[in-house]
Symmetry: C2
Subunit: 363 residues, 2 copies
């Protein structure tokens, strides 16, 4: 592992964030000093400007731009809000404090900056992401959702008060929370040769208890349903920096399938960002064909499930023959199964039989 190179990457990233925010400020001041109304151009996030890029294997924004200018009376408020959001993000980043979207909304009032509701402040933060090409976690605005990781990976913190301290992610057998401190840590060393991401908490605990991390040399990641963006970024780092293959295990239904897809190819909502997806990750199960082959206990797919399948069928991310086969099979059997359904063969069947078979099959 090239620790030195990676080490600098987090510190560099932080400098980059501050530099980008600084640039934005300098540009605005320059415009004012030159007697111009300050303005800013950014890629449009309207649906017509979102396209799926087969090369990058994610959604991206097209060429269309929007300009927000203080000259336009209707733009004046959002422009001011944007400049404030950049200022506030700069405060957070330089003081090494974190915040949440909710907190940003209320914090605005400390500066007599008004947002009519949280949706309005969330949109401004997304504008800022679009302009900087960086996700809000980069400038220290984190989601509340919490997921976890477990296994033999030593990390080194970069947060204040913990700089230089290390932790092995097998220190706490309930799993280590993926929060701001973990997200901003450096990877120091690992003996793992793969990553296994798991949708459900119960199964994550089962895997730890059954020593899956040791038997399969794996880092285990709990996505806790749809993976929060910080977790998707974390999985991407495990894949890129440690060169580890990633296997994803979800419930056997359209929603589980899509949890895997969003880790792999990202979401349309994040078309303005580049560092959240892990294109080489594999969806290893529970497939519709697994439901058939393993004779799992099932529930019927309801109308909402079937509608979702039709949407996924038309989704440009679902072109691969494997995905098409599974969508088709779901539609044919009209059944779904949860990960826990394997317990019908005993609590450890999923670990002893299913997991090794699927890791081999999707290698």
């Amino acid at each position: 592992m090239e620790q030195k190179k990676r080490k600098s990457s987090i510190v560099e990233r932080r400098k980059e964030v501050l530099a980008s925010l600084g640039d934005l400020g300098v540009r605005t001041y320059d415009q004012l000093e030159n007697g111009h109304f300050p303005s800013i151009d950014m890629p449009s996030r309207s649906t017509e400007n979102i396209a799926y890029d087969q090369q990058l294997r994610q959604f991206i924004l097209g060429e269309r731009k929007v300009r927000r200018s203080a000259r336009n009376i209707r733009h004046l408020k959002p422009f001011t809000q944007l400049v404030w959001a950049a200022f506030f993000s700069n405060e957070l980043s330089s003081q090494r404090k974190t915040s949440t979207l909710r907190d940003v909304y209320y914090s605005a009032q400390a500066y007599e900056m008004t947002f009519k509701d949280q949706q309005e402040s969330n949109n401004i933060i997304t504008d800022l992401e679009t302009i900087l090409g960086m996700s809000r976690e980069d400038f220290n605005i984190f989601p509340e959702e919490r997921s976890a990781v477990f296994g033999d990976l030593t990390i080194e913190y970069t947060v204040p008060g913990y700089e230089g301290k290390t932790l092995n992610l097998n220190s706490h057998p309930d799993g280590i929370l993926i929060g701001p401190a973990l997200t901003s840590s450096e990877f120091v060393k690992t003996t793992a040769d793969k990553v296994i991401a798991i949708e459900k908490g119960g199964l994550f605990t089962r895997f730890i208890e059954e020593n899956v991390h040791r038997k399969h040399n794996a880092l285990l990641v709990l996505t806790a349903g749809q993976a929060p963006r910080a977790t998707r970024h974390f999985i991407r780092r495990l894949s890129n920096e440690l060169k580890l293959p990633v296997y994803i295990f979800t419930d056997g239904d359209p929603w589980g399938m899509h949890i895997a897809m969003v880790i792999i190819s990202g979401s349309a909502n994040a078309a303005h960002l580049r560092e959240l997806n892990t294109p080489d990750a594999k969806w290893s199960g529970v497939w519709a064909t697994d439901i058939v082959n393993y004779k799992l206990p099932t529930d019927p797919l309801d109308e909402v499930d079937m509608k979702r399948l039709s949407e996924l069928e038309r989704d440009p991310r679902y072109v691969d023959p494997l995905w098409r086969r599974e969508i088709k099979t779901f539609m044919k059997i009209r059944k779904k199964a949860e990960q826990e359904a394997f317990s019908r063969y005993g609590l450890t069947y999923i670990v002893d039989e299913y997991l090794p078979a699927k890791l081999e099959e999707t290698k």
Copy 2:
């Protein structure tokens, strides 16, 4: 701290669980051997048999019993399910494996034991809790919800593979997950002199970043909304075993108020259990009167909120003058405020001003 005594308490508890499960089995065998239909008596959990006990400061079950007997054809199925659930819990406990309610439902199929849906298997597990007077976490059936703790407390694990290993709960600045391993650990030593429980993840992170644990010698617990039972039990242990006062901070609305109340006095659903509540814990805010005194940004209370307040007004747990005053104030101002609302005075106002004032006020 009397480490030795506490130490044995977890091990003793585990023995007690196995002994109780064993007793249940022996009793059933004895009945069969003596030529009787096996049967079991347990306290009724019907509403008429639930009463609030002012002494214990929690809901309890009354004298009314129900008998489930294999002689009664309508009881035969639930009786068999109950015996299976006891058998399965004994397997889990003696093999030191954990499970979830979902998993129990599916695991039954491995034994050709059928439940028509998960509700049915959940009910049987609650029957077992009622019979044993122990919560399902005692026999290794855990919820999926996850909360966290942070601060200077050294714990010693008792789970397989980690026995004798210790962890200081300030090791990971995102917080330590409260899962099966932490729940079953022994408390070794602490410098903390209080516990601060917090409803929201964003605020929990803010408190850690602002060194609340150090400035106030506190262990910080994230309840993540309504505290899972394992977390309520954990808070109770911090209160009982370490003799630490507990302060609870929630959103300023009827739902936040009730999150605090359930930690303090438990829920009617758990009237058959004794070890989940922390009667001496204090609700320190956000009170309705705080909303007024601190001039917080608010949202109006809607019809559902107002209806909830009327329910709480009639709830026997809400007799204390403080609670009555706050319910009355909420009804009068018809407004609510989130914990994040303090950010209108700056990100650290809640830590610098509000927290110390409220800790003093509710001491």
